[in-house]
Amino acid sequence: MERTGPSRAPWRASSGTATGARGWMWREGLLVLTGLMVLADLYLVFMWVPTDATLGIVQRIFYFHVPLAWVAFLAFFLVFLGSVIHLVRGSRRWDRLAQSAAEVGVLFTTLVLVTGAIWARPVWGVWWTWDPRLTTTLILWFIYAGYLMVRAYSPSPAQGARYAAALGIVGFVDVPIVYFSVQWWRAIHPAPVVGPASEPGSLAPAMLITLVFSLVTFTLFFVVLLKERLALKATEEALGEARELARRSTTDTRSSR
């Protein structure tokens, strides 16, 4: 499990991935803590918190839906941050962060859309409505799915990183504009008939506790996923460099003969 690499590899020194026993303890400790938190969160959501009087059992999905949305936004903010720093300084470490955050963000946005639709069907009577928040979330999903595609289709990882960074910045700047434009547009048109609790004004204390606990749990879960993805990405890059080195040395020997 020890992660030690050749010291001349530059990405090692700056990658910040766990090295040695202390890092390993930290990583496993976080994993165990998150696992326990997830179990506790499931207990709170399905056993402990009372069922909503008007919405019924389906309201419980709210304790997953809201934290997922929060984590997705956090992830896309990290994509933006990593993209700006990567473009300005050319730092590979920040690019890795941006890419890993984008992958987790797209996954979580997908789950936000799915859990939202499951909730909307019994409450609003439709799976989907073109409400500003829903429309913006869907567009967000398209932008960051595109972000991952640009990387996949680029000729070299370094170029892909730059193109994706540009998209990460444009996309993040665009999101509030999309939101306001859709809201304005809907303000002019007759508003779609939306069910009672699109915005739960005041939450019962037990519900608030469950929601906050769920938010913390999902944020920790996000950190775990991000750390694992970053470590994997660092390993992928190290492997790529090693392959490149091996390929170059064999061609060198051939040409010298």
Partner: protein, 224 residues
């Protein structure tokens, strides 16, 4: 004043080069308007575009056609250079990246505005809408600037990637969704004579934001 003139000259030259190439080859100038009209025909099958409903549907139909046709034309900015093998030459010019960006933007913009100047009256006739208002002219101009600003950046962004022709609309349309909304709403207001002021202001704001961000990003994109 002299410095501004010196900075504008290479931009205008680059834009003129692209327009001249287009005038000689007539590659896009023939396909884009025909494609836009084809979109109109397909909408006629999908929606009931009778005279009574045309005023409600026309702005949407107009802008979907322009957006599809526009992406066809504007993504050529750097793709065409790559196909001709002249991209390296363009990037080695002793001018700043901003000059290249604005030259390409201006060329694409001039082309699109010329095509739209022909298409808007044709669409107006076929959809039975009233045109010739300064509001509609301003809407077309501002929305086209918004489209071209982003399309020029995305063309540069994707020029080296595989299956770029398919990827560009996929990335472009989510980001320009606000322009489509703004243009459709402003056109609806203009056609109904309701005053399009706040949507025009919205389009202008959008243009301003991306006219600042896109050249900056462009400077970081094509470094080799």
């Amino acid at each position: 004043m002299g410095r501004l003139k010196a900075a504008a000259r290479p931009v205008l030259l680059l834009a003129w080069k692209d327009l001249l190439l287009e005038l000689r080859s007539k590659e896009t100038v023939t396909t884009v308007p025909v494609f836009a009209l084809l979109v109109l025909v397909i909408f006629n099958f999908a929606l009931d575009l009778s005279a009574a409903r045309a005023a409600d549907l026309a702005p949407g139909v107009l802008w979907v056609a322009f957006a599809f046709a526009g992406v066809l034309a504007l993504n050529r900015a750097f793709f065409a250079e790559k196909e001709r093998g002249s991209l390296e030459g363009l990037l080695m010019l002793p001018v700043s990246r901003d000059t290249i960006y604005f030259g390409k933007l201006l060329g694409g913009l001039a082309f699109m505005l010329a095509v739209e100047a022909v298409l808007v009256p044709v669409f107006a006739v076929m959809l039975n809408i009233r045109i010739l208002s300064w509001e509609l002219a301003l809407t077309v101009a501002l929305a086209t600037v918004g489209f071209a600003t982003l399309a020029t950046l995305f063309s540069a962004l994707l020029v080296h990637t595989r299956s770029r022709e398919a990827l560009l609309p996929l990335l472009f349309f989510p980001v320009v969704a606000p322009v489509v909304i703004g243009a459709v709403q402003a056109t609806t207001s203009a056609v109904q004579g309701a005053g399009a002021g706040r949507w025009l202001a919205f389009l202008a704001l959008y243009d301003a934001i991306f006219l600042i961000i896109c050249p900056w990003l462009f400077g970081h994109l094509l470094e080799e």
